[in-house]
Structures are given as structure tokens and as C-alpha cells.
Amino acid sequence: MTPKLEVRDVTFSYNNDVTVLKDISLSLNDGELVSLLGVSGGGKTTLFNVIAGLYRPQQGQVLLNGEDVTGQQGIFSYMLQKDMLLPYRTVEDNVALPLIIKGTRKKEAREIAGRHFEEFGIDGTQKKYPAELSGGMRQRAALLRTYLFSAEVALLDEPFSALDTLTKSEMHRWYLDVMDKIKLSTIFITHDVDEAILLSDRIYLLGGKPGTITDEIVIREPKPRRKDFNLTEEFLQYKREIISKIQGT
């Protein structure tokens, strides 16, 4: 089976000078959530920008359903730690923006967006401005915007790292719940080991300078995950394994 998304031998350097990424290869299957785990400044975000088509790699390819889409924009959407909701648009109009950009009429775009508000747990915020929402709610809206942009693959770059611990664990539960419904194939960047184990099907460890994929870990815990999965012995074992691998390299 061809993977949904494949990154093949990507090497990237800024201005052909310092190599940031070297021979990166990874794959993402349909409906899967794969994490990229690594220290900050290790090139994770750069890799995202390459996949999103904002940067062109010196070597290698990005394939969607087996088709070369290297350097093409408008295919993958991503979501960052900052929600980047536009303060002057209502939540509804923010979320519908990717559809409007693609040429959908405003009214219709609002309607399509409106269908998902309940599913994403933000029903009732349609006519509000982002400033009226809490951080967690804003990230939900941002994820819905990402989802409406492309149901193919979503790139999430530390989406929950700016939230406080309680909101964060609430968001994790919400996220697994939503993903269970919409089955969005996702690449998830994080530097939080717990978060990676909790959410992912597989984890790639990105490390070194220039950044390379040093390891791949499969989390065999079935989805939807148990409520107390992060308190189990298996969870701790995964955590030990990952930490020793990160320190070992």
C-alpha cells in the first residue's frame, strides 16, 4: 500500500549554507498519527515548512499518495502553537477562510464550516471573535480550520505547548476523541515525550546536527486509548525507551 504521505531522502539547508536536515525519510499511512519528537531547534519546523511547500529541499521529494508534490503550496495545512486566528474575523469566518481562499462562496463556506462546530466542541462560538475565547477553544477552532483546509494530511507543530497543564491534558483527550471521528492523517511535532506517546501511532526521533531520523518507535496501544494509559507500566516503558534513545544518540 502506498503511504498517504512520504518524505523521501530530504536534505535541506538555508541558502545552501548550514545543512539543517539530512536524508530525512518518513511515511504516514492513512488515518495515522505520527509524531516527530526532538529537541527544540532540531529542524522539526523546518521539515514542516518543506512538507508544506514553503521551502524547497536541495534533495529529495515529498509524495502525496505516491505523487510528487515537492515545493507545492496549498496541499497540506499546518497548525502552530500560535492559533493565528485573525482577530478581525469571527470564529466562523476564520474557520471558513481556507474554503473562501479556494473560491467557495462565503455563505456556503460558513455553512460547511458550521457542520463541524459541534464535533469539534466549539458550538456556540460561531459569531464570536477569537479574543472572546479561551486558549484551548482557540486551538480547537484552529484545528477545525486546518481540517477544513485539507482532509488529506494535517501538520501540527506543537499545537498544545502554549497551554497550561490542565488545559493541555483536557485538549489531549478532546483531540483523541475528535481524531477518532474524523480520522485525519497527521504529523505531529512535539518535544514532550508524554504527549508523543499518548497521541501517536508511531514516533520518529529527530536528532543531531544536521537533523536526521535516529529512531522509530511504534506505540502498540490500541485506539481509542484508555483513559489512564499515561499511568500504566507500558506507558512508562515506552517513555524509558524513548528517553534512553534520545540520550544515547
Binding site: L86, Y88, I101, K102, E132
Partner: protein, 241 residues
Amino acid sequence: MLLLAAWQLICTFGNVPKYMLPSPQDVVKAFQSDWQLLMSHARVTLTETLIGLLLGILIGFLMAVIMDRFIILRKMIYPLVVVSQTIPTIAIAPLLVLWLGYQMLPKIVLIVLVVFFPVTVSLLEGFSSVDADTVNLMRSMGASRRQIFRYVKLPNSLGHFFSSLKISVSYAVVSAVVSEWIGGTEGLGCYMTRVRKSYSSDKMFAVILLISAISLILIWLTSVLQRACMPWEKVNKYRSH
């Protein structure tokens, strides 16, 4: 109120000649006697101001858009724009009259010259202060340059634009009056030169008050327009405190 009362008292009992300092009562009387005349002059001044403002905003907007789009043009034009603002209005006004006649045209040109600058500068500032990550996100969604402009840059600059517009509006009224001083047959500025020459200080005060009132009303209208164009401001301000 106290100030007004003191003023009236000084004029009544202080034996100040009327041509030096008219009392508030005199000013009110001047308003009454010259009301019709003041209104017909005000109409001319207001027309010039509004046409000049609209043209100035339009030109300022276009210049900002062009300079934002083409960096090379920005480097070429921006210094010229700044230099254009260092020329004293009072010096250029007579030249404009000489070149363009005694009608409305030189007045409008002067207003445009004064108005476009704050508009251009503030819009450029607004355009270039957009969040780079947001622009990247829009690009990743496949947004065209025009769409990024429409959905991100333009609304992002509205706040800047309206602040500058309030400045522009008051400048526009003053410029209209100044250019009418220099040459012309109608307008509050003309009226001003006439009453000055006849030492009718009461009428002078009346016309000054009228000009201030016009400026204030225009500034107030700008605020009303701003609130209508930026409904989110109310929410955001309330939330950020």
C-alpha cells in the same frame, strides 16, 4: 464655563476695546448677524475639504499599495514623499494659486498634498507589520497575493489607517482655510481675511469657532466610521484589559 464667564467679565468691566478682544456676547451676535454668510462660505470650505480628503485618501492608499507591492518603488518614492512634506504649506499655497487659478483646484491640490502623507505612511506601516507566520499560513493554504492582501494586510492596517485619518481630517480643514487666505473669492478663509482687514475681531472669533466645530465634527464622524468598520475592536479592547 468659568473661563467663559471670566472672559465676559473682563470684556465688560475691563474696558478692553472690542477689536482687541471681543466678549463672548459679541461673538454670539456676530454669529447671528453673519449666519447666512458664514454658512455659504462654510459650504465651499467643506466641499473643498471633502473632495481633497477623498482624493488624498485614494492617492495615499494607492501609493501605499504600490510601495508595499514593489520594494524597489518603495525605495524610490518614499524619500520623495517625505521631502514633499518638508515644504511649508504656506510657501507652496501661493504658487498653486499662480499655477491653478483662484477656483477650487489649487485648494484641493493643497489638501491632497497634506492629507495623503499620513495615510500612506500609516498604511505602509500597517501592511508591513502583519505577522509573518500568518502570511506563511495563508500561503500554505494556497492564498494568492491578492487574497493575502484582502484577508490579512488590509484589515490589519485599518487601525493604523483610522488613526492617521483623524490627523488628516484636521489638517485638511486647516489647509483649506489657509489656501483660501492666499487667493480666492469664497470660503471661510476668505471671510477670515476680510474680517481681519476690517478689524472685526468678533467675527474673527466666530469663524475660528466655526472652523474648530467643523474639524471636531469630522473627527467625530471618523470615529463613528471606524467603529462601524471595525466591530471587533470593541470586543478585543474589552478583553485585553
